[in-house]
Symmetry: C2
Subunit: 224 residues, 2 copies
């Protein structure tokens, strides 16, 4: 097992350490981001939380720095711009959502009845939007407009990957008569109904995520 050199406190190592020296100066950057382990992730988490609460424009890079105990210029050591930070938040959100979705369908991807599959998809989607600490995708839903054209195109691709999982399930439901509206518009309207819940759902009161899922199932599907 390889020991990871966690740079928690740069002053903690003895000067005579035999461990291989980390390279001095600025680490190489990759696609507008630098890699530094913990602190980078802390910035992402804090940024996601603040972006969700206050919006992208209303959150200054100083706010984000303060939230993780850094000084005003330091976030730019980890991200080359505020835009790059926003993009990284959204990208991480989409990757997590895609993985969560895959996990929800695991095992019986094609074995389970379409009604079971759609339920799992809906429930996983609600988890992505309302699970504790899951601020990343809501930021993406809110702040899609704040991205550059290139960044947007890249995220649209991820979003298409995510949504493409729904299509065969909706096709099957349409074929069996559980869904009567056209599949493409159904997908847009259903995901819209779920996404909009970021505007009103409160985990601490009202319905639970299971009740929400039940309601969505009852609203969208015919009983045949």
């Amino acid at each position: 097992m390889i020991a990871l050199a966690l740079p928690i406190n740069p002053h903690s190592g003895s000067p005579t350490d035999l461990a291989p020296k980390r390279p001095r100066g600025r680490p190489r950057k990759t696609e507008g981001e630098r890699d530094d382990g913990n602190r980078r992730q802390e910035l992402l988490t804090a940024a996601a939380r603040l972006f969700r609460r206050q919006g992208f424009d209303a959150t200054s890079t100083r706010d984000i720095a303060a939230a993780v105990g850094m000084h005003s210029g330091s976030p730019f050591y980890h991200f080359k711009s505020k835009d790059a930070l926003l993009f990284a938040v959204m990208e991480e959100g989409m990757h997590a959502a895609i993985e969560r979705q895959a996990r929800a369908l695991q095992g019986d991807a094609s074995a389970a009845a379409p009604r079971v599959q759609i339920r799992r998809l809906i429930r996983a989607h609600f988890d992505t939007l309302h699970g504790p600490g899951n601020d990343f995708v809501p930021v993406m839903l809110y702040e899609h407009r704040s991205l550059s054209a290139r960044q947007r195109a890249s995220l649209d691709q991820l979003q298409m990957d995510y949504e493409s999982t729904w299509t065969p399930v909706l096709d099957a439901l349409h074929a069996s008569g559980h869904l009567r509206a056209p599949v493409k518009l159904s997908r847009l309207l259903i995901l819209g109904a779920l996404n909009w819940s970021v505007q009103w759902f409160d985990r601490k009161k009202g319905a639970s995520l299971d009740e929400l899922t039940d309601a969505a199932m009852a609203l969208f599907l015919k009983e045949c």
Copy 2:
């Protein structure tokens, strides 16, 4: 009939006009807004358009001034702050939406079948979101977060007025078996599905508003 003195060009009137003089200096202000007829409305329309396209924070008051051919400080002659301008945009949007909704139900408010009523509500809602020049309500949906607590409370009241029209219709549909999910959650999910269309609907391509309405009806209602 009383002649309205439209101050289109302050220099157009002869000095010997017998028409009653307009009061000199700044007009009285009311709740953070001044009344000046045309120009004020021009500012509102331009602001709605820009806020929708770029977002509230990304739109400067200079952008808005330029859009109507004013200089940078002049919007503050009509609105006491950028916030007041945003609020006025949203308020006008909600009033128009409430009127459009009432018009859609006119005549047979209680006579028509609930299925007809819900169709009209859905169609009127899509008109509010996607009708030509209807940028006011989409701004409200996007920028709800940018308001102060007081402004938000005031708009929430208008939104409750708007949504309350849906409840008796949904109640009737639930009673007749056309709607199976709980009424309150149904209202939230349905309006969410419709609202989210501001993110993807394009009047110039794809489905028409009528097709969209058909799809929504087919998605949400059981056939009994």
